[in-house]
Every structure is written in structure tokens, then in C-alpha cells.
Symmetry: D2
């Protein structure tokens, strides 16, 4: 039997991870498989791979609360096209990961201001953190101007999953 492929991922339920509540509160969790492309000659995961994985976690978190890149880029009614841009990252590499491992990226909102969103992201293996990141992003219009986060977006960022 062939599965339906609607180009929107509806046949793959967990593809964008899940919104859930864990012991630190509400968060988004995304599973990551370690592939060849993520490792380096040391035999371990390349440090830059964690940065890519955090971006996937942020994108899917925003997607599940209703705000994907294309929607932002095309602009909502009365608003300029926009994209989130990383302003600052603090990264701690705690333990190594290896080919074939399955990791989880957990993303939660740490703080929002009028124009910035700060996220706490951690990557775990077997329930144990191997990497943590604090990431500040800003919403920027296509002409490069920082934009205020809409109240709808701020509400969605802080809502609990139903």
C-alpha cells in the first residue's frame, strides 16, 4: 500500500515534532536522527550540526503554533513580509553524540519583549542533556527593519498545548 503524499506532511503525524508539557513546563520536542552528514572525522557529531538542529526545532515550534516561514515571508494582512533572524546564541556542548543516535530537541520560550523572542533549547540523548542553547531571535522585515511581534504571535508563543 502506498501512503498519500499531499506535499504538506499530513501522512506523517510527528514530522514537525510535538507540543507538550514536561517537568519544566510547556515545550516543543523534535526527534533528530544522526546521519553521516552530521558527523565529522573525530567519529562524533560535528559541533555545527547542533546549530542546524536548533533551527529545525524553532521552525517546527513556530509551525505548530501556526506561524511558518512562508506565512511570515508572504506577510499577513496589513503587514510587511518578514522573517525571524538570529541575533545572539550561547551554546554549551556537554556530551558527544554519534551516528545513528536518536536525539530530542526541546524548545521553550524563555522571554519575549516587544521585538525579541528568547528561547531555551536543549538537546538530549536517552533523557540526558548533551547540549544547551539560549537563542535570541528578532523579527525583521524584508527591508531589514526590526518589527514588533504581533499580539497573536505572542499569545501563541505563551499558550499551553491543549
Amino acid at each position: 500500500m502506498s501512503r498519500p503524499d499531499d506535499g504538506d506532511g499530513n501522512g506523517w503525524p510527528d514530522l514537525a515534532g510535538r507540543l507538550l508539557v514536561d517537568d519544566k513546563g510547556r515545550c516543543h520536542v523534535l526527534p533528530i536522527r544522526v546521519y553521516f552528514e552530521d558527523t565529522d572525522f573525530s567519529g562524533l557529531v560535528y559541533h555545527g550540526s547542533y546549530v542546524r538542529w536548533c533551527e529545525r526545532g524553532r521552525s517546527d515550534f513556530l509551525r505548530l503554533i501556526g506561524s511558518d516561514h512562508r506565512a511570515l515571508l508572504e506577510g499577513a494582512a496589513g503587514r510587511e513580509p518578514a522573517a525571524f533572524v538570529v541575533r545572539r546564541m550561547t551554546l554549551e556542548f556537554l556530551r558527544p553524540a554519534r551516528i545513528d543516535d536518536v536525539l530530542e530537541v526541546r524548545t521553550r520560550v524563555k522571554e519575549t519583549t516587544a521585538a525579541t523572542l528568547t528561547l531555551d533549547q536543549r538537546i538530549s540523548h536517552g533523557g540526558r542533556d548533551i547540549f544547551t542553547a539560549e537563542v535570541m531571535v528578532v523579527l525583521v522585515s524584508q527591508s531589514g527593519k526590526p518589527l514588533r511581534l504581533s499580539s497573536a504571535l505572542r499569545d501563541a508563543l505563551h499558550a499551553r498545548p491543549s
Copy 2:
């Protein structure tokens, strides 16, 4: 509720895709989300991303038939550690893909010889092929010597999913 994370992906059923039978026969299908990292300044997917996605498809196909990288690298009883290495690729880029798209990588065995495995891989969006690849890989020992594919591996490559 927090999900279990056993470091092996068991809490995420489709993480390695699925073995299935479609109208061209038996294949492995892996969903792919297009993220920031996969695109370039043209606004479309970077051509090198398709090469990384095909490798994910091959790895998960081998994983689901029982042969992951770590098992190969650690060697089976009486066999040297080994890894699959790409020898030849023919790639056709048919249509573009974009940020947030969900694509599917379909991988099927085209041919095996004593020492080579040739795969037919295609990537589709909404049921329509956007990319095709023919990929020949060989199994190589850590000392660089080509190895024969074991009969167990060849059987698994040609078996139909149950």
C-alpha cells in the same frame, strides 16, 4: 505529559520512514521537511541538499532491513568493520522545492552484484517527482578493501516488506 526518550527513537514510530510496496514495487519512503539550512539565496532548495537527503533515505532503508552504520562499523562475527561508500551518482533535478515543503524520498534496489549495490532514489512533492538519482555504493573495510555483500544482507535487500 512527557514522552519516553530511550535514545533509540522508539517513541517516534515513523522516524526512519517506512518500508512499503507502491506501484513500482517494494521501496523505502522517508519524509523530509525543507528547513532554512536546505535552501539558498535563490529562494529555492540548494542542489546539494538532495544529495544529503538521498543519503538519509539509504541509511534508513538499511536500518529498517537490519543493517545500521554502527553494526557495519563494529563488524559482525568473523567480519571486518565496514562502511558503505558512494562510488557513482547520476542526478536529475526536475522541479524546484521550497522552504516548509514536505517531500518524500523513495529508495529501491535496482541491482546488486557481489560487491556493489545500485539504488534508484527519487524525491517527490505532492506525488510528483522533482528529483531522481541512481546511486552505486560499495561496502569497504576500514583498511579500504572492497568487501562482498553477505548473503544475509542481499536477502534482506531483496525481501518484500511483511
Copy 3:
């Protein structure tokens, strides 16, 4: 002493490689250092890295004959903005490469038609080919329409270095 940095690379003479004539005729050569990011857990260069390196070779070849990406994207007088897009690649992986190696990418024109450009690219280490590629690219307008190569571009592609 601090070097001048004009943002255009003028202080770094070989940054875009060189146009030269070797025993197979006219070509562009670009040196590549193998870094962490280019390797994988096998200890060797990741196969997808060669695809990225070929793209660097093509970009710098076009740059040195006067046609960089930004010029194409901004469009010339009376022409739409455009970009080169890869249509087809045939890749052969002959020998492995390793961290810290210095490789050379040689790019030469194999064939041009009204709308396509086919390049022969090979990567060598210590004078010995380790990888070859045949790459067909097409010039596409921002609206997705294939464009004819201008006669100025075709002349430049076929000119011998002075």
C-alpha cells in the same frame, strides 16, 4: 601590519582561484582545504562535500570571466534577473580524501547550447584525480523561465585566458 579589507577580496589574490591552460586545454582551478565540516565519521571526506566544492569551482570560474551571481540576479540592461540552476550531474568518486588535505577543483567548458552549459569538473589531490563530475546547468529567470545564454557570456566561456 593589518591588511586592507575592501570587502571585495582584492587583498587576497588567489581567493577565486585562477584561469589557466593545462594539458587538457583551458580551465579554472580552485584550491580547497579539507576542514572538519567536510568530513564524516568514516574518517574521510563526506561524499556531499564534493558537490559543494564543484559549485564553488563553477561560481569562481564564472566570477573570473566576469559573471558573478549578483550581476546575474540583478539583471543586465534589458534582461531579467537570472541564476544558473543545476539540471543534471554525473559524479564518480575515485579515491578518498582526508582532513587537512589540499585539493584542486578544475572546471572546464565541455559544451554550450542556446540555453545550457555543460561543464567537466575534476578534483585532484597531489596531481591525481580523486573525483570527476559532468554538470549541466541552465540559466533560469526569476519567474522560472529558461533563458538563452547571451553571446557575451558564451564568448567569455570559450575564450582562452590572456
Copy 4:
């Protein structure tokens, strides 16, 4: 005329950048060209690319003071094989960069302890910083044990270029 290719980069004088002294003291500078692979659909450089570029700067800085990856991995007399591993990074993204830009990565030693090396890295375009990083690395043996930096390496890290 064809250039010599000895597999070691000797025909390409600036390939590993330069050690020099600027107004903030001694540093290593490496030029970087922005290619397709470094950009994303926003039209700008992907934020993860800066992390890769910093690693290139660190590798070439260590190379020019006499300590490349392969030497570390193969171990010196009486020492285990080892590799530098990133422990912590603090990254600030100040201004965007674009396709075809030429950037410079400047790397200088901020601090060394018995087992850690902290580097100040900044990336500029046209003489203006667009990105800064503070990066702490540790030397780790293949068995995963942190190693003391040798006095020869510490001397080399702090020496002024001749």
C-alpha cells in the same frame, strides 16, 4: 601553464590565511568567500555558516602555528592521539552578509588555562565587524579524557608572528 599541486597547498600562498598584528594585537586572518551553500532563502547568509567559518579560522590558525588536526590525531611522541573539541560558544550576529561577499575571520587567543583555550573570533566585511564569537575549546584524547595543553603549544599560541 599549469601550477604545481603537491597536495599540501604549497602552490597557494594564502590558502591558510595569515598570522599578523593588527590594532588589537596578534591574530590570524582568513578570507572567506560567500558561496551558494552558505546562504538561505532569506537571501542572506545562513546563521550556521558563521559557525563553520569560525572553525576554519581556528583550524588554519593552529595550522600556521604548527599544530594541524592530523598531527594531533596521530599523537606526538609519548602522547595520546587527541583533537580539539568545542565546549562553549557565545555568538553575536551584528549585520547580514550576502552571496559573493568576501569576509575576513580574525582569530586571537583570549585566554589559556591548563586544559582550555578561549578564542576571540570576529568576522568583518569591508573592515566592519558583522559577527563576533567567544569560543572555548578543550583538547580531548580519543578515549574522551581532557588533556593538558603542552607547553610547546601554549608557547606557540602566545608567540608573536615573526
